[in-house]
Amino acid sequence: MKILVITEQRQGKWNNASFETLAAAQQIAKDTSSTVSALVIGKGIAAFADELAAKNVAEVLKVEHDLLEAYTADGYCAALKQVVESAKPELVLFPHTYQVRDFAPKLAAMLGKGMIGDCIGYRNEGGKLVFVRQMFQGKTAADVVFVGTAPWFASFQSGAFRADLLAAHPSGKAPVNAVSVTVDAEQIRTRPLDLFKEAKSAVDLTQAPLIVAIGRGIKAPENIPQAEALAKALGGEIAASRPICDEGWLPMERQIGSSGQTVAPKLYLALGISGAIQHVVGMKGARTIVAINKDANAPIFEIADYGVVGDIFEIMPALTEALEKTKTA
């Protein structure tokens, strides 16, 4: 089987989920005696192609065109359809990024095929590939298989595979092959404009995927910057249990619990929070709960996925440092 991985870069930067998907492809290739090709698309992407060529891949496909400099769904679909038709892969894999969500299902449909999106894993059942994805907001998992003939399209959720397990090319470098595509300006119906970041205004903790929450264990307002530094290293929002806001150490809008906000983030890191029911009702829907508390019998541990019995003032700085390290790694 020939596996084609569509990588993603924007404005001179990789989307690192690309390497996780490449690692997934290498693993599938090993399991099924297949080959992996990696594709990079855009303009002025020679350096990206070279970087991919250093990985354990059979070849790198470089798809360059002036009209592919900025991403558009129309441009990418037009170009990639031609590549899939000429390269004839059986399996086309994508990282499940916002950009992939925006065009990959349509690309598959243009070829009369379907896509299994947002997979968290796969199994090889005697040559049949079974893809695992979540349903019902992660309450259930589902085994999904392709029906019909290749090419098949699938995307892997970020974090599903480890980019650090990516194998390097055994003998130095894979060939980089430029694939020419025809794209007309008229085919591109949307016009991408400015890319920008917004200054954060009012906090909406319900939308925050990562939350660091503090409770009475923080002891004094002077200690809050330590928790804020941790939240910053995590890229998350700071929140608190009721007593902290009652004291005015943090604004009321950052309060989680029955009298505050109800949140269901991906990660809820509870620091020095005992886990009174009034607080728990506001955060028990979190996907992953980490509790750090000096009291091993604190009720927060009943709902925690990961627990640390210890001094938050020792663990906060250590954790901040460990998180900073993964960012620079």
Partner: protein
Amino acid sequence: MNIIVCIKQVPSKDAPLAIAGNWIKESDIGFEMNEPDSYALEEALRLKEKHGGEVIALSLGPERVKQTIKEALAKGADRAIHIVDDHFAQLDPLGSAKTLAAAIQKEKADLVLTGLQSDDHGFGQTGVLLAGLLNLPHATIIMQIEVVDGKMKLKRELEAGWFQHIECPLPAVLSIQSGINKVRYATLKGIMAAKKKEIAAMTHESLGVSAEPTQRIEKIYVPTKTKKTEFLTGTPKEVATKLVEKLKFEARVI
């Protein structure tokens, strides 16, 4: 501006799910409007209030879906289309999109809106597939819509706090990001008015759609999750390293 909003009905958020093969037992649980779709509906109603026109709610599913359609009508949709299908849960994303596209083609819509994804299957493909099938331009994860001179200026959410403005002609298909607006409640007046609004019933047969599936869900199951707390021990530094490792590769939340 005529707008079609695709709305799915999904199990209520707090519904206890009992698995039955590759779907769930539908008896004894409540259903509600898919939350992401409620934002799409709200956006459609706001665009109509600003630019005039009509809002049509389009839903695919069994008889129970009528309740969600009525909610959309009570909130202000002008009429609705119900594609009645008891086996909708067995459709793959392309099959659902082909069915919806066939109904949309019968209308003259300037804009088709969907929510970002459904809280049940969670495929998140409908909007993009509709655009492909209807040969319309599209954009997804939309946080703002401005209509000027027959064109839209959109704000699209990217990852890691980035946004992008996009210009998109009409007609088009947009997938709306949750949180784009504050969703309204139906008023008593709205609920009364909804009783007189039209719900056109259609079927795969009347639409002439039969799609061969491209994928099949073999089974669903409760993921092997151990809510038993895993305690991490060691020096603060060791604990911190272990925790980051766990969050990154086991829980996959960072």
